[in-house]
Symmetry: C2
Subunit: 406 residues, 2 copies
């Protein structure tokens, strides 16, 4: 395929999701924003909801908003997210804390549920905070961390996990979509393999939620954690979600006991008694101005539908790969993402020795991708706001700023 | 003293802090809001800052705001708070996570720094989440928790702490101001006693920060944690602060390792290496919409000055006690706060068998205090927004809804 800009304009014209871009705050329509997987754009609904939380709920209604509006947000938003985007039931997802804190609680709870096992399987490709959380618990508990080596553009293979599994493994900690390559891991096969040795499977959904469909029940996932500020567009550092399969909830107890996770919280009674169900995964008072943003943001993704979003995402990344072939390969760039769209999440990473300078030059030309040290440029394609022409213009400008080989 | 409303109006007229009320969003001037210690009011500066974070920083500037505006917020706001309100230096305070998470990290780090000691001293009067955090770590590590029994209106006495201290105690966990009685604990004497047996002293400043001056250096405090949503008016569930005395920072290592606490965060390198200094107490991505609210809120308190705030606070609570004597004592109410203003924080608690019904009736009359089960009404007096006439009107209406004894 060789793409012309006119051909790409036509893709936008017939895009069934094109209308969603108008639901976002976009004051510079010419900006080519290709970093929606680091920070998703602000929707108008979300903007309005945060302002209402400020003015009406906090400013006007003051303390009464806790009971009237805020106390049930972590579980109410969890239910919305779980049932519309994760393939979970109500009562299995809660939204609270940062992704790092959520991971810490989930890993610790899983380890406690397998007290006679001392190994954790995780990959060197995993997002840093996942690795660091496991490292902290490994140091505290003397764990055997079984590292899967970096796997390159195609991501961690099922076999690489399986060969590290035995009956000393308590837990696997893997990301559904790799944060650099965008490789989609085989969540079904890996979860099944973990279960075959009696281990629990924890999945980090940060780079898949809202853009790659997941069915946590069908995949038999035990625990999942993810952030809401990428494809869910819930704002910088928006709180994370935690999924705990219902039949595990009685066995898994998270380690940080706080007043929001206690049964009969406002009795303020002596001793700790966890709330029933998923609410026991709460700890402290949630940051409401951040939390309120999640609900309308998730609702917008759910309205568009993750299956439709996935269809556009595959087309967007396929276009990026086509344009890589058309322009970038000959300029010394290397594709660091899978070629098979079915194996690829919603970003495409390319690398080049001159990537750092190219990144700076791109910003000057009104293109915002994400630089990944040492030499990667990550193009995050968010189907509700990224146009096909953004991909075309972004990659054309990337080609234009690449030094030609002398 | 017998107060007339005219006398109280005069107090407002000459109040040097009266002007600050106009800096807050107050759309119903008749509302008697006496719960500023549960949720402080929204200031105009804070409102504007959050809207700017939404519209300009997130909506317009997108990902570039991380580097330009957000990354250093936890330490920058920590420095502001530490140097203006806590008696700390720059580099000793960080703002992030919920109070519960901050407490968990601080207690765990202190226990790790005293590995051969197994006891913690804490009081039954302490705020629930402090007690639950200690209980979770006690269960995980088999600690000996030495509970100081409930101490009543005068709060925990120094002797009650001292008699539980010995060389097996790793840590004391106490609140500077009791959340029910408002009793101010003797932070200097208790910290000194803890140090004499080689224990660390952790102080919860939730009910003192911004209204009762603290000088953490002068008091030789090791660790302190506090919330920012009470007298600091930073919004519902606004992030907490953590203080770690500089000379302890090399010894104390918090247990939840995440990417925001790692040296050279964006290298995303293997292995965990903590950031130097107080930044090692960060963990995950902070919730920016909640975090940005803290800076202007703290700045406003610092502008008014905590010494001036304390002077008005003492007068407000003294007026409340006078009016209790004038109206409530004979109606069967009991004062549950210290009579000595120097021993009292900025709230006053009264109890009565019919308190629950009185609370409901007060709300109908436009008065918002805080009900504390089983039979307490807590009157939180926030000097930047609470008028002397609010105290008068609130207590007069409380008297009016109290059933007369038959």
């Amino acid at each position: 395929v060789s793409w012309s800009r006119a051909g790409v304009v036509e893709l936008d014209r017939v895009d069934p999701l094109a209308q969603y871009r108008r639901r976002f705050v976009i004051d510079d329509d010419a900006l080519v924003y290709l970093d929606g997987n680091s920070l998703g754009r602000l929707s108008i609904d979300t903007r309005d909801r945060v302002v209402a939380a400020l003015d009406q709920e906090w400013g006007h209604s003051l303390i009464s908003s806790w009971e009237d509006r805020w106390l049930d947000l972590p579980t109410r938003i969890g239910d919305l997210l779980g049932t519309t985007l994760l393939g979970a039931d109500t009562g299995e997802v809660v939204v609270n804390d940062s992704t790092t804190i959520a991971l810490y609680k989930a890993v610790a709870a899983a380890l406690d549920a397998r007290p006679h096992r001392s190994a954790v399987v995780i990959d060197e490709d995993n997002f840093p905070t996942d690795r660091y959380v496991v490292a902290s618990l490994a140091e505290q508990r003397g764990l055997d961390v079984r590292w899967i080596p970096e796997a390159g553009p195609e991501g961690v293979a099922v076999d690489a996990v399986v060969e590290r599994l035995d009956d000393d493994v308590a837990l696997t900690v893997l990301s559904h979509v790799d944060y650099r390559s965008a490789a989609i891991l085989d969540i079904d096969a890996i979860t099944k393999a973990a279960h075959e040795v009696g281990a629990l499977a924890l999945w980090d959904l940060c780079h898949s939620v809202g853009v790659v469909p997941t069915d946590l029940h069908a995949s038999d996932v035990d625990l999942a954690v993810g952030c809401t500020y990428k494809y869910l567009s819930s704002g910088p550092g928006a709180p994370a979600f935690t999924y705990v399969r219902r039949d595990l909830q009685a066995q898994l107890r998270q380690p940080i006991w706080g007043w929001f996770g206690r049964a009969d919280q406002f009795e303020m009674a002596p001793g700790y008694e966890p709330s029933p169900g998923i609410a026991s995964w709460l700890t402290g008072t949630p940051g409401i101005l951040s939390l309120v943003a999640v609900e309308p943001s998730v609702a917008l993704v759910a309205e568009a539908g993750v299956e439709s979003i996935r269809r556009k995402s595959e087309k967007l990344t396929a276009l990026a790969v086509d344009l890589y072939d058309q322009w970038l390969g000959d300029l010394g760039w290397t594709l660091q993402s899978p070629r098979d769209p079915a194996r690829r999440g919603s970003h495409v990473t390319v690398s080049h020795p001159a990537a750092r300078q190219a990144m700076a030059d791109l910003v000057e030309l009104g293109v915002i991708p994400d630089f990944r040290r040492p030499d990667g440029i990550r193009l995050g394609l968010a189907p509700l706001t990224t146009r096909y022409t953004d991909v075309y213009d972004g990659l054309q400008r990337l080609a234009s700023v690449t030094p030609t080989r002398s």
